[in-house]
């Protein structure tokens, strides 16, 4: 890896061959974070390795605190954020779960911590492969959440994450999910923007009169009873609702400053005239897009919708992209055992978003790629085929299909 100071870098930035984890580390340096906390767990730990190298090389000056557990790791950034430090943290799988107490209150206290979840299956059994249930555990708590699918998107989204999270209209933490191995450990050419442009995009974190400081004596998180808590929850709800416009604003500025053309909430791939659309998050976009191209070559009108942001849920974009389809198939790299239709989390959300769309679009649920299992072309074609059947029958198929699960050999 080459390290150059901002002065040497051309305004257009530079291209580097880096992994998703490295891209996040680069974003940390560009955002000039103040405090980062580390505790090793695969695949998240790779970010820590790259960050410590950036610090050792003098490319980033920040407090790098190695905690004794994930719980402390998240507690430390929570407190650092309260005193006005820009923070970065992260974990994976059960490590993220171990920190859940701190994670839950970070949103309640409206602290704009940015975290990377290197998505990993919850062990036991010991497993490094990708599943999304780790990140999804916080979906109801007031965290902004998104899934990235490339190294470039990881870097871009991290910069956007601090900008949105630290906006005084929002002040909510943001979890960036990156599929373990597929993204965290795969190197791609990434354009690293110039620090001077980043400074124009990302103002310093200013907590105003909410900042914990001896000159600004405030009580944070007092004991409250039933007379207070509901109003506080309502405030968090209002902040989450406001975040939608703040995200849109951030993408507009991002595109203007960095000469890019990102869409804020979703990526639509050949959905324009599609009769059958699959929906998913993260790196499974790649095999599905390949399948879309193959099937299009055969004249089938298929498309793919990738959700970039999951909280706030992009309801208008989802409705708009899917309302003209004859059927929709939702791919979950997660599970929600015992839920309606025994389906996955994403499918329930998409179904709910489509409930009021007239005429109602049939929805099929797929659980696929658990534990990092590859979503192959045959699997992708199978999902399109099943969704096409729903399109023909015009009715939702409520059985939830597990794709790629091994059946007994006769």
């Amino acid at each position: 890896m080459t390290t150059r100071t901002a002065e040497e870098a051309p305004v257009a930035g530079r291209e580097e061959l880096i992994s998703g984890s490295e891209a996040i580390a680069q974003a940390c340096a560009l955002a000039d974070i103040d405090v980062v906390t580390a505790y090793p767990i695969r695949p998240y730990d790779t970010v820590m390795q790259f960050l410590s190298r950036l610090i050792a090389d003098g490319a980033l000056k920040c407090e790098f605190i190695v905690a004794e557990s994930e719980h402390s790791q998240f507690e430390i950034v929570k407190h650092a954020s309260a005193v006005g430090a820009r923070t970065f943290v992260g974990s994976s799988g059960v490590g993220w779960f171990y920190a859940l107490e701190a994670i839950a209150v970070t949103a309640g206290l409206r602290l704009p911590v940015v975290a990377l979840v290197g998505n990993r299956a919850l062990d036991d059994p010991g497993a490094f492969g990708c599943e999304h249930n780790d990140a999804l555990a916080v979906r109801d708590l007031g965290w902004l959440m998104n899934w990235v699918s490339t190294g470039q998107e990881a870097l871009d989204t991290a910069l956007i994450a601090w900008r949105v999270a630290e906006d005084p209209r929002v002040f909510l933490p943001c979890a960036i999910s990156a599929d373990g191995a597929f993204l965290t450990h795969s190197q791609q050419i990434v354009r690293v923007p110039d620090k001077r442009l980043v400074d124009r995009f990302l103002p310093p974190y200013n907590r105003g009169d909410l900042q914990l400081h001896p000159d600004n004596p405030i009580t944070i998180a007092p004991q409250v009873n039933e007379d207070w808590l509901m109003e506080m929850r309502k405030q968090t709800d209002a902040a989450m609702r406001r975040s939608r416009d703040v995200i849109i604003e951030a993408y507009l500025d991002f595109n203007r400053i960095f000469h890019r053309d990102l869409t804020p909430f979703t990526e639509e791939y050949m959905t324009e005239d599609a009769e059958v659309i699959l929906v998913g998050v993260g790196t499974l976009a790649l095999p599905i897009k390949v399948a879309v191209r193959r099937l299009r070559e055969q004249g089938q009108k298929v498309g793919f919708l990738r959700l970039k942001w999951f909280r706030p849920f992009p309801m208008p974009e989802v409705q708009k992209a899917l309302s003209k389809a004859k059927a929709v198939g939702v791919i979950d790299r997660d599970y929600s055992f015992g839920s309606p239709m025994h389906g996955g989390v994403l499918a329930h959300e998409v179904r709910s978003a489509l409930y009021d769309v007239e005429p109602r679009v049939p929805v099929v649920n797929f659980v696929a790629g658990l534990g990092g299992r590859e979503i192959t072309q045959p699997f992708a074609r199978e999902m399109f085929a099943i969704t096409q059947q729903a399109a023909q029958s015009g009715a939702s198929d409520t059985q939830t299909h597990w794709i790629g699960v091994r059946e007994n050999q006769e």
């Binding site: 004596p217 405030i218 109003e231 506080m232």
Partner: protein, 390 residues
């Protein structure tokens, strides 16, 4: 259909078992008479904090359906009897969360009763108890609050004496005979049954006129709507750095004005400004930044903020310079330093007397000599025998 509700206002942790025993005694005794009831705690977090005012309730109804009308509520909106098991709580109650000061008789019904364990007379208590504006009744169970610092008098019979007095002030709820039966069943202790009966016989009820009581307005504030509340669970404090009470000279420490702690206090520190060497220890060690630094370098405890923990008295290196004394003797939170400034001799005379009197008093932060517990149990029994002149 007659539902009876009783609340017990108590000091968190120390008196929780006492309050639970009282409320369970009520419900079990009522059940003997064919009624049905419930006993439950409120205003305590779990675990409760030392001395923080908390409440226990007993609700008794004629049948299950009637009881459900009460169960559907968070707590009773009014009670037939308020039982106050530490007389310093008569100054008012601030719950463990963020409320303002609730008068001790806030939930007491018109014509209902307030039952207090105290060594004070009714008139003295009424200097603390806020004016109700409607008639009710006051009764006293003679004796100290059944705890001392972290120590609890578990066998001073306060629980059953309260039940006996309750049969007197609220005869419609449960008969004395039913209480006696239940006390025998729970504790298998004839002495306890006798204590309850004696309390029943001795309890006198004093009517309280609507205009009687402490006329000061209890600290309160309007709860803001969710858009008016500051974001992120933050509450503004008083900044440090200005002079004494915002004026010239001295020092104002940072502190929250919203969370007043005084209703947690059973003892308060009194300071001898004459012998104080200005060593700063009380100021530095007070966990609640209570001490305002005066322009002449002395330390005045802000008694709205003081929770009465006793740390200042423990750390003060000068003998009898900071002394913890019974909170029950005071009717307000006014500044000791102001008094000292106004009338040095008068203040010091009062201080010397009060410190001397404290040495002979039972109220203390814990036990200070071997056998103190036994002595105090005996004294409580004697007080109970002697009865109380209302």
């Amino acid at each position: 259909m007659t539902t009876y509700a009783v609340e017990v206002v108590y000091r968190g942790i120390f008196q929780r078992t006492l309050s639970r025993n009282i409320c369970r005694g009520i419900v079990l005794a009522a059940h003997k008479g064919g009624k049905i009831g419930t006993a439950f705690g409120r205003y305590g977090d779990s675990p409760e904090r030392n001395g923080i005012p908390a409440k226990y309730f007993a609700v008794v109804a004629d049948d299950q359906l009637e009881l459900e009308e009460s169960l559907a509520k968070y707590e009773p909106k009014e009670v037939d009897v308020t039982i106050c098991v530490d007389d310093t709580l008569c100054k008012g109650v601030e719950s463990w969360a963020w409320y303002g000061l609730q008068p001790i008789n806030a939930l007491t019904k018109e014509g209902g009763a307030l039952l207090v364990t105290s060594k004070q007379a009714a008139d003295a208590l009424l200097e603390d108890i806020h004016r109700k504006g409607m008639p009710y009744r006051l009764a006293i169970v003679s004796g100290p609050a059944s705890f001392s610092g972290l120590w609890v008098y578990k066998d001073d019979h306060t629980d059953v004496r309260i039940l006996g007095a309750l049969a007197r002030v609220c005869p419609g709820l449960v008969s004395m005979e039913a209480y006696e039966q239940v006390i025998q069943e729970i504790w298998s202790n004839e002495a306890k049954v006798r204590s309850a009966r004696r309390s029943y016989d001795q309890t006198r009820v004093r009517p309280v006129e609507p205009a009687e009581g402490n006329t000061s307005v209890p600290f309160s504030f309007t709860k803001p709507g969710w858009t008016q509340m500051r974001e992120a669970l933050t509450i503004v404090g008083v900044p440090q750095g200005a002079g004494f009470r915002g004026g010239q000279g001295g020092f104002q420490p940072a502190r929250s004005e919203v969370f007043k702690k005084f209703s947690t206090r059973t003892m308060r520190p009194i300071v001898n400004f004459q012998t104080c060497t200005k060593c700063t220890l009380c100021w530095l060690q007070c966990p609640d930044s209570c001490f305002d630094v005066t322009p002449d370098g002395r330390y005045d405890a802000n008694l709205e903020a003081c929770c009465g923990c006793g740390v200042c008295a423990d750390v003060c290196p000068v003998a009898d310079c900071v002394t913890m004394v019974n909170e029950a003797h005071f009717n307000d939170n006014s500044s000791q330093y102001d008094w000292f400034q106004r009338d040095k001799d008068g203040y010091l005379r009062w201080l010397t007397e009060t410190v001397a009197q404290q040495k002979g008093e039972q109220r203390s932060h814990g036990f200070h000599h071997w056998g103190q517990y036994k002595e105090e149990i005996a004294a409580a029994a004697a007080a109970s025998e002697a009865g109380h002149d209302n």
